[in-house]
Symmetry: C2
């Protein structure tokens, strides 16, 4: 097959000199994204390489490529050599310049992540924790007692715990004889004690010459962010927290793009690559947390993991194709118990890996963990729990019953699909106010620095203020007749300028376009339709909901008033809303500590009735009615109606 020379240039001021990368040979038919990947250049592909998002545009400065699609590129772009890297086929020698990528910050700002976590009242490691340790003093073998090493140890464990059988792995068995002799038969055993079929079972995890500290990990694998808590299993204390973007982001920003990438096969993506990416992310978090708390990773004997069903499948490298296609079924909702070595986690190789159970393709272990941490499954009050992340999942019920559904909100509120959207990191506009007479905005930026874009809470505030001041009408259309230079016709149609180039960190105006508003309306309409249809389907009026719990790191920072004003949240008394933060990692933490909480998650998963909305006409109606600010039917939002009257 013919080979062609491809040379990449990185046009990124942060990298200094613009020297070309080492040229490389690729065969005819290679995609520019593939060639870049091989060259070590990661081009962001939020849509998963489907040619839909336009984010992977690069400039061909020498030679040419075959363009499969030029969607989202203007005629001028194409004339200037711009092309979508994921849709460009190499058929001759080319030079390609990669524009500055929206670089993923490797650390979330610390103040947004670390909050003191309280150890559950009454935590008692000796009865609740499955990871245990015991000091054993064995009688050394002699000519009168030639019992084999393993039986000698098992007998001692039996005397202590009355168990029948003790499991051990081959690698640990191989080390057994030397450990026992080096420690002169006085050792500390670390083991996992589980009850199965009403019998207690013991699995030996490690043997130490002296008593070992026992640590565990509570992990939440979000589509966007992976969070990890390092926990002292004896005291129950969280000794370190770390969070980082999920390394799979460069292969697609939502679960659908990830599934497409994972199932593409060959050079266009693979399931094992996705697995490696998320495991790398987790391992780097483990390293950070261990470094912070001065913990030896070999002393981590357990990890409890939550995440949506797609994330859990990709973690285990189980095929995801059926999640995406009707009738939307997972390979497995409750993953089998694993060991760290099975996944390549850099902790004790025998450590027990416990993946929490999910319910359906779009209601995963992050939601069962969330319900656990919200304590809703044993409460008397009718509660609505909503996890707003890249997707929106909703659970309604009480200790009597639980129903759940999911709606594909999309990542608009996380900054994707919005021209100047960004994640809630340094430089993001997180709050906006607009003067009702001058239409001039003021805003607050995370980190008190120059603005670079707008994050979720900023977008909610912006939408609400634009609507209340009449810059946007009920249908989300910009009023082009206002006397303000901020409302103008831009490259992508009508837009409102939030920050002028001179104020902004990127030297470009920060705007919100008509298309952005449309995307945001679709996202909020999906969520609103989700919980209203769910309530309707079970015959519970939304007004009877006593508690409205919002999880997800997104939910931590939004302004309730403004979220109600745009019709994202229902018009209930504000005190009924409660923001719980990352309920998924909290639930994983509870299950990590306490075997009873762990059993409870499984019960929650089996009790939850999943309702599929995609097949529901009611949902479609509710969705279209909600594509307005705040809603076609203003009577559903009486406080907003009042505010509009005042404005």
């Amino acid at each position: 097959m013919a080979q062609h020379l491809v040379t990449f240039h990185l046009d990124d001021p942060a990298l200094g000199a613009h020297a070309p990368l080492h040229p490389m040979h690729v065969p005819t038919g290679t995609l520019v994204t593939e060639a870049a990947h091989t060259a070590g250049v990661e081009i962001t592909q939020p849509c998963g390489g489907q040619g839909r998002c336009g984010r992977c545009a690069v400039q061909v400065t020498n030679g040419d490529v075959r363009r499969r699609s030029t969607l989202r590129l203007t005629a001028e772009d194409v004339a200037a050599g711009y092309t979508l890297a994921c849709q460009s086929v190499v058929e001759g020698d080319v030079s390609v310049t990669v524009p500055p990528q929206e670089k993923i910050e490797r650390r979330l700002t610390t103040d947004r992540v670390v909050a003191e976590v309280e150890v559950p009242i009454g935590y008692d490691a000796s009865t609740m924790q499955t990871i245990q340790r015991v000091n054993l003093s064995l009688t050394p073998p002699s000519m009168d007692d030639q019992t084999d090493d393993w039986s000698r140890l098992v007998t001692a464990l039996r005397q202590q715990f009355g168990v029948e059988e003790v499991d051990v792995s081959l690698p640990l068995l191989r080390r057994l004889g030397n450990i026992l002799r080096d420690a002169e038969w006085n050792i500390s055993a670390v083991f996992e004690s589980e009850v199965r079929n009403q019998k207690s079972e013991i699995r030996l995890l490690d043997l130490r010459p002296t008593e070992s500290p026992l640590f565990g990990l509570a992990i939440d694998i979000g589509t966007t962010t992976v969070s990890c808590w390092l926990v002292d299993l004896i005291s129950g204390k969280v000794v370190a927290q770390a969070a980082e973007y999920n390394g799979q982001i460069a292969r697609g920003e939502d679960v659908i793009s990830r599934i497409i990438y994972a199932t593409a096969g060959g050079r266009n993506g693979s399931s094992s690559e996705m697995q490696a990416l998320v495991i790398d992310s987790i391992n780097s978090l483990i390293a950070v947390a261990c470094e912070k708390a001065k913990v030896d990773p070999q002393n981590i004997f357990k990890a409890t993991i939550a995440g949506n069903s797609t994330m859990m499948h990709l973690l285990l490298n189980i095929p995801t194709a059926s999640i995406r296609l009707a009738p939307f079924v997972t390979g497995i909702n409750h993953m089998p118990p694993l060991k760290a070595i099975d996944l390549g986690l850099k902790i004790n190789p025998e450590a027990a890996i416990d993946c929490l159970p999910g319910v359906a393709s779009y209601v995963g272990a992050d939601i069962t963990a969330g319900v656990l941490s919200a304590g809703m499954e044993d409460g008397e009050q009718l509660t609505l729990f909503m996890d707003v992340g890249t997707n929106g999942e909703i659970v309604l019920g009480s200790k009597e019953w639980l129903v759940t559904c999911a709606c594909s909100a999309g990542p608009a509120f996380e900054g994707a699909g919005v021209v100047n959207g960004m994640r809630a990191t340094r430089g993001a506009i997180e709050e906006v106010w607009i003067n009702g007479e001058t239409f001039e905005p003021s805003y607050r930026v995370i980190g008190n620095t120059k603005p670079r874009g707008i994050c979720g809470s900023g977008l909610i505030a912006l939408l609400s203020e634009l609507f209340l001041t009449g810059v946007l009408d009920k249908g989300g259309n910009l009023n082009m007749h206002l006397e303000s230079p901020r409302v103008r016709s831009g490259e992508h149609g009508p837009e409102y300028v939030v920050a002028w180039a001179r104020e902004a960190g990127y030297g470009q105006d920060i705007v919100i376009t008509h298309v952005d508003v449309d995307n945001l309306l679709r996202a909020k309409a999906a969520i609103y339709a989700g919980y209203t249809v769910l309530a309707e389907r079970v015959g519970v009026p939304l007004e009877s909901v006593e508690r409205f719990l919002i999880g997800g790191s997104f939910g931590k920072y939004i302004n309730v008033e403004k979220a109600v004003q745009i019709g994202l949240l229902p018009d209930l008394p504000w005190e009924q809303f409660q923001f719980l933060g990352n309920t998924s990692v909290k639930g994983a933490y509870l299950a990590l500590l306490n075997r009873n909480e762990r059993a409870r998650v499984t019960e929650i998963a089996s009790r939850m009735t999943y309702i599929e909305l995609s097949a529901d006409n009611l949902f479609y109606e509710a969705f279209t009615s909600a594509l307005f600010l705040p809603h076609t039917d203003l009577s559903k939002f009486p406080t907003v109606a009042q505010a509009l009257d005042k404005a």
Copy 2:
């Protein structure tokens, strides 16, 4: 470190041209055996590289080496450049000629291995076999039934078997979704069904679009020979047998040498190398058996393995050092359940590997399997079971009690430690008669070919005939005053010529030397002392033994009369002796077929009381008294006394 050039020449007519091998560089201090190993030349080291056996002698033809020891070499040998490869250190450039090695024949002669094996009467796979298959017709998922793939399968299995949980490995889980869809939800499941803690447990092994045949392996890992039976688990029939020398032989002929090699570390040997060697042997037998019976190795779902404790430890790569050193304890007598993939066996990766339990360092799973196959543990008769292989193990008892011991007979009866000894393969003298007047021998050779050496049964016959004709006295000394050219003083002292060079396949006289006789006397004395002391220790006179069962491939061919005449077997009525052949593989076969037989082996292992003879003065006395032909006390051998009177 200084590097030296080493060039090997193979002086082996079978290899044709004598061209030097490709020269190689090795650092100062490398042993010639190590260099040879690296060069791909395997030099036989029956003593495990301890400089004791003299079998690794090579000739230095250019340059010189430092000799750590010249044991077993004559001054002439040394002058001619001969040196022990395992004791020769490279300190400069050298050329080394490797003399013809006693090549290990890759196949035992067929007629010695394959005998029709009878399926146990009443074998019923549906109740006795742990490997089962079932055809399942699943309802495909739909929008009304979005159950995950795994739960859908488990529910079907539950309905069929009423089990609680089903285990599955991650690799199989990864294949699940595609298998189910490709087979359109009609599949045949292969699984292992075990009862643990009174609950039946199921582990899924494979899923097939159509019903799969089910095969299993019964394997005996002998120190010398590995045997493998391929079994149809439905009918119980042995469909193919294969046997081959254990690939570890080149690293030492007895278990002690193997342990020394395995624990040497670094370039002198390693435990993982020993594991790889035996697994290669097993895999090559599997390939041969599958080829013979036209069986796909992926349809082998179980293997039951027996072998002595050292062999089982080396198979799993568990340290063996403590087996060799007082107080002689194993790492583990009952290996945990494994999967084929854990060991690298080339069968279905999920296949259940069941290692039968041993009792002590020198009474292993080969003996518990032997006791099972001999049926002695539930018989009324007082039975003595003896397995004569490289070691000798003895079990005495009945259904009331079982005692056992081991004696290090050494491999003399297998042809090692005897100048012209060899294994029972083509060219081995297996039977000898000596004329009482002319002292001329006649003999029978395996394969009716020219003799190359003498195997175990030949050595027993030879010893007996030499003794009865007066060529040897009671103390094992050759009568140098006989009028026969066959009795002479040779290089190694007094010797008797069994075959002249002109008759022999190697062009050299085949002799038995005084040193050989000594080695054989020590071997038979150890075995005799073993069973007599064991009987004495439990207060049972040897005469009250009702059945005398002899296992081990060695035991299949010896002549009882002659074995009694040299004092290897006790002087009991011949009809009490029964030769059972390879009882270890037979026991493995029974345990492979029937879960009840499997439970019985475990019970046998726990019932057997091990008696350590090495610490016993009685044993030492019995041993020294037995270093005569047939014994110091001729009254213990009345029929031999009669024969001597006649002679």
